[in-house]
Symmetry: C2
Subunit: 244 residues, 2 copies
């Protein structure tokens, strides 16, 4: 089964200093999961073109899709375009299509500051979502450049969403009152026996309801069910809390 | 002024798939900021020893302190120790001090699964917080290995906290109803004139209260106040909402 992968690069000093809480990566985590895309990495970095270039270059080489969040406004701390250009060893140039849009939108009010929003890495491709966005989404190779403002991030991603639809994940979850130490060996064997199923084991020390949450996940629903049966066969029935 | 830097490496498929929400990085962001430590990067990666090794090696080389979260239990998906060992080209060995603790704690109930918790990268150093923790914190060079369970992550970090105290950050914040495009040039000049002050500009399209939030930050409180005066001199007084 073909597996599509993604990374998220969140750009912004405000996240790293706690001035703003990230809302975009946490939104995209759930979107990508629902789409069946395997999220392989999230990186949060400062407004620094060298950092941005390094993270984008690495992620673009390793994952099918990269989504950046933030750093695309008109002020000195908006250096995402410069960082992405460096990641691909390209120049930043004025994009004629974006320039025409900005001139059309601002009319006589256009100035050099507003026109800076038309600067893009050479060879950037604009993605339009007709009827949904009045502004295109800038892409460079497999990198989708999204704004940091959460409302805009969401509306832009919503317009792109269907491009990324893949086979869905199937997940089952089992809760038990057994101690994780006492099931660890069985879990390790289960993981070895079911290589197509990703098995997670998460202890809780504060929930009175259960001691360990076990998750089984795969794109192959049948494989998940087979692993679930095998799991239930090795767990202590009297300690089983529930299966979801 | 000496500047101490840190990175956070969050390890866990459950975060990347949305099964659990990160609570540890978001907690540590605020702790580090209050301590005066510059957080330079957050990385979220899967339970994969190669990924862990790569991220830990890179962060340990670039930042003064690295905090890992997660992946240190007894099951197959707990591979943080192996990953950190690889990051420093060390073997995983049974740590005698940890082994003695585990044998003392479990008594006759000790078994190979429980003893696995005594495995650590060769040369790991245990940090004790007398009277606060009954279990030491494992460190390898500048890497602090913390558990993923949020309650444990917090209590362990709380015990370490005072080791990381640095000079505090000073921050002032200004809210204006001016459009970000109309203040961008002045902001860029301000940033160039006050290189010791980190200036952030954050537009809001949903708050009726303000259009742009401007933050001024430095370890030099005087420099922040000087930049604040310069900022207030260039903003339109009638559009000023408030200064914090």
């Amino acid at each position: 089964m073909s597996e599509k992968t993604a990374a998220i690069v969140v750009i912004g000093n405000e996240i790293l200093t706690g001035k703003s809480q990230d809302k975009n990566a946490s939104f995209l985590i759930n979107e990508l999961y629902q789409l069946g895309i395997t999220l392989g990495r999230i990186v949060v970095i400062p407004d620094d073109p060298v950092d941005i270039a390094g993270s984008v270059r690495e992620c673009a080489g390793r994952f099918d899709f990269v989504f950046t969040s933030g750093g695309i406004g008109p002020t000195h701390d908006d250096v995402t375009i410069e960082g992405i250009a460096r990641a691909f060893d390209r120049k930043v140039v004025r994009n004629p299509e974006l320039e025409a849009l900005i001139r059309g939108y601002f009319g006589d009010g256009v100035d050099e500051v507003r026109l800076r929003m038309a600067d893009a890495p050479q060879g950037a491709v604009l993605v339009w979502a007709e009827g949904e966005l009045r502004w295109p989404i800038l892409t460079v190779e497999n990198v989708y450049v999204l704004p940091g403002v959460p409302e805009l991030f969401r509306s832009k991603f919503a317009a792109l969403r269907d491009r990324f639809r893949a086979q869905p994940f199937h997940t089952r979850t089992v809760f038990t009152m057994q101690d994780e130490f006492d099931i660890a060996e069985a879990m390790n064997q289960l993981a070895a026996d079911h290589p197509r199923v990703i098995i997670g084991s998460y202890p809780s020390f504060t929930s009175g309801d259960y001691k360990v949450k076990i998750t089984l996940e795969s794109k192959d629903a049948g494989a998940v069910e087979v692993a679930l049966s095998a799991l239930l066969a090795v767990l202590e029935p009297s300690a089983l809390v529930r299966t979801e």
